[in-house]
Point group: C2
Chain length 244, copies 2
DNA sequence: ATTGATTTTCATTGAATGTTGAAATTGACT
DNA sequence: AGTCAATTTCAACATTCAATGAAAATCAAT
């Protein structure tokens, strides 16, 4: 029934969405349309609200209130709450993916003929996202916390899979080349552990402040990276040394 | 406004909960009361539902339907949905905490005068929970997935803090003794990474099946532990070696 | 000024939410 | 049989939810 609803909704939405002009109608390369700022406000508000209270913990009413726009505009611009979430994620995931792939290619270039070091691979994966967290843009913070939540909720694996798996497979392949003696299974598990460690940093729940009584701070990305990269690299290398 | 509602609800609930007899009224050491099986059904159903769809993604109606009991019984036995969640978690967290502390004491005993090895500490932390996941009891599976979700949601840090922080501080202290050269900050971060890696295993979202195209399985706890312990141990040791 | 598509507003839909009060039932005790 | 508290049932409560339909407004192009 749930799937049927989703399908029905999707079908309706495909029909009812405003017809986006596929190519610029006018001379300018890209014509900025009237509703663009509305779309942006909604995306940003949704990102913040979803991150704070989870997808099901926030209503479209709250989101539109934060965005300062009318409730009905969500369904006009995005079709449904589900689709709003998808666009919130896709927007930034695209950026991070491209940066990560580029960073990895750079590392490969520097490594010449051989494979880049584990540290280089891990850094190429972590920095594109983590560096943005210390750049003052709260949006990236919210996006990170949202990803952390979806990563762990079974009902969203479809969504996160579509968006994040390409990056994952890209880096899993790089790790395989860098750890030729590790079994394929160890590589996959190692990648999961990598993700998990990173998620603890980007989810920024404030737990480390509480545990350390203020000695460590969730927002101290430099401090986190300074430990995260050695931790993961040493862990992965240990998997590469393993007798199987 | 939201906080005010929560406070009001809590106050009401404190007044309206059925007066639980503090000590056994009759001869038997512990008199099993009539509603106990109802309580259990609700706890188990809530555990399963929360794990699958998240706290806000499930209604009390769904939970009581799964439990096969009347809707009103949730508020009769637990006072509120919030409190139901708390009891769902506390029930199993208590068991795991005791097992972990006991396992750590055992490791200390075996290590004689010196500190237990990193492997021993990490194992003492991981096994009490992970071993239960391969013992057929689906409840532990649901509990683990639920913990994974709450761990990453800001709005539940109060709850998870109350329940999980004592264990955390216990093991952080053990790690400090085992890694005398590591800075306190590195220990705290290391513990966070440990948690993160573990969460990726116990959240069991099926992602590793998809990424590895069936080569690895989320349910393969032995395989996961076989990589998780070396990964984390090597990572922590690297933090201990770090120049600071 | 008029057209016509895009965007916004407003009112409302039907369903689902957590919670509650009052009556009915149960079962162990006198 | 009768008592009484614990438990269960049933029917509602007032909100809130996502989504929609139709009218109003906006604005560039003719």
């Amino acid at each position: 029934m749930k799937t049927k609803n989703a399908v029905a909704r999707k079908a309706v939405q495909a029909v009812k969405l405003p017809s986006l002009p596929q190519r610029p109608l006018r001379g300018a390369r890209r014509e900025s349309r009237r509703g663009d700022s509305t779309r942006l406000s909604i995306l940003n508000a949704a990102e913040r609200c979803f991150a704070q209270n989870g997808f099901d913990g926030v209503s479209l009413r709250t989101i539109t209130e934060v965005a300062g726009v009318d409730l009905a505009l969500v369904n006009y611009h995005f079709g449904s709450k589900d689709n709003l979430l998808r666009e919130v994620i896709a927007r930034r995931a695209k950026v991070v993916h491209e940066d990560r792939v580029r960073a990895l290619e750079m590392a490969r270039h520097e490594a010449d003929a051989s494979s880049p070091s584990i540290e280089a691979i891990v850094t190429a994966f972590l920095e594109p996202l983590l560096r943005r967290l210390s750049n003052g843009d709260a949006g990236w913070h919210h996006y990170s916390r949202l990803i952390s939540q979806l990563d762990v909720l079974p009902k969203f694996t479809g969504l996160t899979g579509d968006v994040l798996d390409p990056t994952a497979l890209h880096f899993i392949n790089a790790l395989r080349l860098a750890l030729p003696k590790a079994s394929p299974q160890s590589i996959y598990w190692g990648y999961m552990f990598l993700i998990g460690s990173m998620v603890q940093v980007i989810s920024a729940t404030g737990r480390i402040e509480r545990l350390s009584r203020g000695l460590c701070r969730s927002g101290d990305i430099e401090g986190a990276l300074h430990r995260l990269i050695p931790f993961i690299s040493a862990g992965l290398r240990a998997l590469g040394r393993q007798a199987e």
